[in-house]
């Protein structure tokens, strides 16, 4: 019986979940190989399989190769992949950001040219936004693009570029008008990564490996037809990209956190600390916060589906996820005692990696600014 305030799925939503769950059971690719190149090819093959089954680019309109999935279906998809511990698709940035931004702002020619190779993982996409001097204050970025001989010439530097070494296309935001106010002098380009003028340097992070890269562009070339959304429109187009990045967190991250909490229970049992009152209290608090995260995400989704506008609860999942993930990795370290300091272990890796959660995809401080200003209506300082 469907009740008002209804946290059950509708029959079609349930059918979607059942079908996906069954497909995942049949088609799960198994454990990811070690070694960066092997892992990447593994994820590429996995994405092709998802694409053949119609699960890549789920949210994209059908006419562009997607499924036109509803927000609930997208959330279910995220949850089920997390639940199955399936690997991410190789071309995640292309699927979640590149495709949607081309669909929203691209010409028909651009849609025809770029969308299918994203879905098939034939062309990998990376994101060239942040710079050493421009992180939270993205609009202050300095990479410049100058028009010369019918094309754009780009010089500058980007940082925190995931997948740059595998990528064919870079979503690049550069300054095209030095005199305009900073938000208005930017243009969004699709830059071909396969040119000598673009150098990729791995960026080693505190966990030891390099998920990210620095990009150095010394007079790289971009043709006119690779401008996305019009010259000078880079800021609104970039915002579309960022919004899609943030909307992705929510229901699926709640599931990942719950799985990690289940692993924490096993750890506590192994170490004989199940009766420790501090462990019990902290663990319970993390379970509660994980549930609040999941519920806030679903409440936010309901609001967006009804009104088209996210309610206040929609801004909160990314903030909460970072806090919960950091909290649970910290608790795991405490339970493990001195052994936690040894380098080569999954929990220790996660503990260090979690430090970035409150920074990547929008820092906790910036997200609180957004909540304070746009939800609570508090005045800006800047």
């Amino acid at each position: 019986m469907r009740r008002p305030v209804d946290l059950t799925l509708s029959p079609s939503e349930q059918a979607f979940r059942d079908e996906l769950r069954a497909w995942l059971e049949e088609n799960h690719p198994g454990e990811e190989p070690k070694g960066e190149n092997e892992a990447f090819e593994f994820r590429r093959t996995w994405q092709r399989r998802l694409h053949e089954a119609g699960y890549a680019g789920l949210s994209w309109p059908k006419e562009y190769g997607g499924r036109g999935a509803t927000l609930v279906e997208q959330a279910i998809f995220g949850e089920e992949l997390a639940r199955a511990k399936a690997p991410p698709a190789a071309n995640l940035l292309g699927l979640v950001m590149g495709g949607p931004v081309v669909i929203a702002h691209g010409t028909e020619e651009q849609k025809q040219r770029y969308l299918e190779p994203i879905l098939s993982a034939e062309e990998i996409w990376c994101q060239g936004f942040s710079e050493p001097d421009s992180g939270s204050d993205l609009a202050s970025l300095k990479t410049r693009a100058v028009r010369s001989n019918g094309e754009w010439v780009v010089t500058g530097q980007k940082v925190w570029t995931t997948l740059a070494h595998e990528a064919k296309w870079c979503m690049l935001v550069a300054r095209t008008d030095q005199d305009a106010p900073k938000h208005q002098g930017l243009t969004y380009f699709l830059m071909d990564m396969e040119q000598d003028a673009v150098q990729v340097r791995p960026l080693r992070q505190i966990t030891g490996e390099a998920e990210f890269n620095e990009l150095f562009m010394e007079e790289a070339r971009i043709p006119d037809e690779n401008v996305l959304g019009g010259v000078g429109n880079g800021w609104p187009v970039a915002i579309t990209t960022l919004m899609h990045e943030r909307a992705g967190i929510g229901a699926s991250s709640a599931i990942s956190v719950k799985i990690a909490l289940g692993q924490l229970v096993e750890l506590a049992k192994e170490r004989g600390v199940v009766d420790d009152p501090l462990v019990r209290q902290r663990f319970a608090q993390l379970e509660i916060e994980a549930e609040a995260l999941r519920l806030n995400a679903w409440r936010g989704l309901t609001q967006v589906m009804k009104t088209g506008v996210p309610g206040p609860e929609g801004s909160l999942p990314k903030l909460q996820w970072a806090a919960v993930n950091q909290g649970l990795t910290e608790l795991a370290m405490e339970i493990r005692g001195d052994e936690a300091l040894l380098r080569d272990s999954e929990w220790t890796y996660r503990f260090l990696r979690a430090r970035a959660n409150s920074i990547e995809g929008g820092t906790t401080e910036v997200l609180k600014n957004i909540v304070a200003e746009r939800v609570l209506g508090l005045p800006k300082l800047r």
Binding site: V274, R280, A284, E291, L295, R299, K368
Partner: protein, 351 residues
């Protein structure tokens, strides 16, 4: 999937909010808080309740909103109850609503047919109120509104006793909550409760969590308004991140309390097997959030937030008291740990 109230439920919420706003302005709440004790003791310890408004709510069907129609109620559910509880918390209405609802919930879910027949109509109409005290071997130390109840239910872990108030010793307490009356109760005898009060207790905890959501929401709104208006160093203090981030954190915690509480109420009505976990999650989270949001709101208000004259302290103290009522955060977290896999039993069995 629809994690939102239905149109009917939204209407209940709107009506409740508007009615309580007119009946319980901040001035009226303060008046009732101060009016309580006629003996000349310091004001603002034990409130006087507005019995006229109580009768009005009885006629509107509020006290019996979750009680079955056969016994004089509206036949609605936990979701409708928590909608009212949130608005009552928001208004900080000095009324014996929670205590009476607690008794109604126990009798509705665990009373024998005879007990329900006898007591529910008076609870539903509000004309013969009840209350619930928990623990301490039949001598619960903190029972709301025992002094004006006709019926007192005393609960232990999985059983209860139903006592007529006239047969109990009721000792008034002076607590920090100036908008609710509390008593210590001692009673011998009485009759055993028909069934297991567990499911009722989970609903009571959820109801208190909902009240905490309303109290938090109000405290947060007061802080935000103050941060917009109050200027120092030439600008509104809300433009400073230390203040604006504190407000953002208040929103995060209020919304977390809200989400878990609404979920728990939904579980009560539609997925009862999940209610034990959901109600404990909601009560634990809301208990902490209620206090933290109010404490943070006081901080944002600066010196004026520390005065008796400003309304905030009434909310702050209600939040603290509610944090302890029908299970503290710590007790509910212990239950969550148990239900989420840190099971003491299996640990003992495998060691």
């Amino acid at each position: 999937m629809n994690f939102d109230f239905s149109d009917d439920q939204q209407a209940i919420k709107r009506t409740a909010k508007d009615l309580l706003a007119t009946r319980f302005s901040p001035e009226r709440v303060r008046e009732l808080a101060d009016a309580g004790d006629p003996q000349g003791d310091p004001p603002g310890i034990r409130p006087r309740y507005d019995e006229n408004v109580w009768s009005e709510l009885g006629e509107l069907g509020w006290p019996g909103i979750f009680i079955d129609e056969e016994h004089g109620g509206q036949g609605l559910g936990a979701v409708e109850l928590i909608i009212l509880m949130e608005e009552l918390g928001y208004a900080l209405a000095p009324l014996p609503f929670l205590s009476n609802a607690a008794a109604g919930l126990v009798l509705q879910h665990a009373g024998s047919d005879e007990q329900r027949e006898r007591w529910l109509p008076g609870i539903a109409s509000g004309e013969a109120r009840g209350t619930v005290g928990v623990g301490a071997g039949g001598e619960p130390p903190l029972v709301p509104d025992a002094d004006s109840a006709e019926l007192i239910v005393l609960l232990e872990a999985d059983s209860g006793t139903v006592v007529e108030a006239s047969a109990a010793e009721v000792e008034p307490l002076e607590t920090i909550d100036a908008t609710r009356r509390f008593d210590r109760v001692r009673a011998d005898g009485g009759e055993p409760l028909g069934g297991d009060p567990g499911p009722a207790v989970d609903r009571i905890a959820t109801a208190v969590a909902a009240e905490l959501v309303g109290v938090s929401q109000r405290a947060m709104e007061m802080a935000v308004e103050y941060a917009r208006e109050r200027k120092q160093f030439g600008r509104p203090i809300g433009s400073y991140q230390a203040v604006s981030h504190a407000c953002a954190q208040m929103l995060l915690e209020t919304e977390g309390a809200r989400s878990t509480t609404y979920w728990a109420a939904w579980c009560a009505d539609a997925e009862p097997e999940t209610l034990p976990l959901a109600s404990s999650m909601a009560k634990a989270y809301a208990s902490d959030a209620g206090w933290r949001v109010n404490a943070s709101s006081l901080q944002v208000h600066g010196g004026i937030g520390f005065t008796w004259e400003h309304d905030l302290h009434f909310f702050l103290k209600r939040a603290k008291a509610d944090g302890r009522l029908y299970g503290s955060a710590r007790e509910h977290r212990e239950r969550v740990a148990e239900l989420c896999g840190l099971s003491r039993e299996t640990a003992a069995a495998t060691s």
